[in-house]
């Protein structure tokens, strides 16, 4: 049985993925293309008292180049994964769940296809997108601690917003 927050998490992953790629001039929409071959992946982990897991983005170099605005350094997709997880971290914090993020890892290959982990207690959100430059897959894996969950409303105002700047 899915966790009570599975739909919320799926929606947050979808909304933040779209916002991130939009921000970097490579808007994404629901996948329609048949060729889902991806050759570069970024994986980043997170953990906290309420939940832990990982986030993985797979895509093709054309997408990373578009988002970077030119020939992208090898770690750029890792930076995108870091920023996407940073957005989710902010949303989770607003729902009472603090998580800490690890350093991202970037992999290259000929055919990289991630799939949901079906171990008991672990849930996965998997979203397939297309951009003009090629396919993007975002997988967010999570495991709540027993009895833990997100707060139903955003009552915790303990985080800055994405792209917010403060001068002390």
């Amino acid at each position: 049985m899915p966790h009570k927050d599975s739909e919320t998490i799926s929606n947050l992953v979808d909304a933040n993925s779209s916002a991130l790629f939009e921000n970097y001039n490579a808007p994404i929409g629901a996948a329609t293309s048949k060729d889902r071959t991806t050759t570069i992946a970024a994986i980043i982990g997170y953990s906290g008292r309420e939940l832990s897991g990982s986030l993985c983005i797979t895509t093709v170099p054309e997408v990373t180049q578009k988002t970077y605005g030119g020939e992208a350094p090898a770690d750029w997709l890792g930076e995108l994964a870091n920023q996407l997880l940073g957005r989710l971290k902010t949303d989770f914090a607003k729902r009472g769940a603090e998580v800490y993020i690890t350093t991202p890892l970037v992999l290259k290959g000929y055919r990289l296809e991630v799939c949901a982990n079906e171990e008991e207690g672990i849930e996965s959100v998997l979203h397939d997108y297309d951009s003009d430059e090629g396919p993007v897959r975002v997988m967010f894996q999570y495991e709540f601690k027993p009895g833990a969950g997100l707060s139903p409303t955003q009552y915790v105002e303990d985080s800055m917003d994405v792209s917010e700047a403060i001068l002390f």
């Binding site: 970097y24 940073g86 971290k89 985080s159 800055m160 792209s163 917010e164 700047a165 403060i166 002390f168």
Partner: protein, 133 residues
């Protein structure tokens, strides 16, 4: 042609360092780089800078630890230090303020806004706090 101002970028991400380097050099700044808090501290101890930009999460000595120690270096007591990070937790932001950060910017950032904020902080323009993007 440089404007004579020096900026130190401290970030373990080559892509972020490259983005900042290209844009700040394009704006006339002389740019130095460090890949960790330890290296950033060493570079800051050796050289004067008009501004430092640092990430937070970077191995053994993180960005906030580096700022705390850079503030003890004669010549860097007043140096503007911008934190550029995905970290948005206000407790961590408060700690950044306590250790001596000048500004906190949550990624993603618009490079032209960042350059405008750098210009202001080093005294190249009349006004402009790091703008919300």
């Amino acid at each position: 042609m440089t404007n004579g101002k020096r900026v130190l970028i401290v970030d373990d991400s080559p892509s972020i360092r490259q983005q900042l380097r290209v844009c700040l050099r394009g704006a006339g700044y002389q740019v130095d780089e460090a890949v960790s808090g330890e290296e950033g501290l060493q570079v800051a101890e050796r050289s004067p800078f008009d501004l430092i930009i640092t990430d937070v999460n970077m191995g053994a000595l993180d960005g906030l630890g580096m700022i705390e120690r850079v503030r003890r270096v004669p010549g860097h007591v007043q140096t503007p230090i911008f934190v550029l990070t995905t970290e948005s937790n206000r407790q961590v932001v408060s700690r950044g303020r306590e250790v001596g950060a000048t500004a906190w910017i949550v990624k993603p950032f618009k490079i032209e806004n960042l350059v405008a904020a750098v210009d202001k902080a080093v005294g190249r323009t009349e006004s402009a706090a790091p703008p919300r993007q």
